[in-house]
Symmetry: C2
Subunit: 131 residues, 2 copies
């Protein structure tokens, strides 16, 4: 009988699990990088400067928590936030954490050096930037 099983029994535990899933720093960064757009793994890899397997591991956790949805297009898999209100939650948390949110609008298109997928040449990447 481990902690995870016990936690699933109460609603407080569900909130705890949810928050713990999204709040790990690399996951917050993934969420903020995806923002209101779609992003493929190669884009996240290039943008965050992390290895593919590492990104995939966190994407898997976020997918299992229902935070992300995935869509395959040819060889690429595009991830999107299941609920954009998650961005509001993070803004809310940032405010309480005393962090200044410098840019809240949809940011300009980023060149995404290192990612050659079709979407990376089109989409704007981040909705929130925590500088």
């Amino acid at each position: 009988m481990n902690m995870t099983e016990l936690q699933l029994s109460s609603n407080t535990a569900k909130v705890s699990d949810f928050l713990q899933t999204i709040s790990a720093q690399p996951r917050l960064e993934i969420i903020l990088t995806i923002g209101a757009n779609e992003a493929c793994v190669c884009h996240l890899e290039a943008f965050l400067g992390q290895r593919q397997a590492y990104i995939s591991q966190h994407l898997m956790a976020l997918r299992e928590a229902g935070v992300l949805t995935a869509r395959r297009e040819g060889r690429f898999i595009f991830y999107r936030l299941a609920d954009l209100e998650l961005l509001d939650l993070i803004r809310h948390a940032a405010r309480l954490a005393g962090v200044s949110i410098d840019s809240l609008g949809v940011s300009e298109q980023i060149s995404s050096p290192g990612c050659e997928c079709p979407k990376c040449m089109v989409d704007a990447p981040a909705l929130i930037t925590l500088v």
Copy 2:
């Protein structure tokens, strides 16, 4: 150079630290038990059915994160949320986590069996109940 020091360098890391501090289940329970009121350790101990040292450890973490403020009154120390908006953040998270928030109003006074401090006989304990 450990992880904690690295995390302190970016704002994303501050949000991550903040969320991770509050999202551990016993800490969420403490926060929800305190709600909009004050609570002494003995009350939390009785209400949550945990040992004193255990409660104090989590209170210490929450205090260091700036989430709680403490006030001494004689032998008792009363804790209060530093910012009541934290309760809104938790409501927000509960919604995104698909958890039904059954009672959002200030709950009735609870008998707090096991806690004899003066406040426990007066205050209402919880603002949110996640059943």
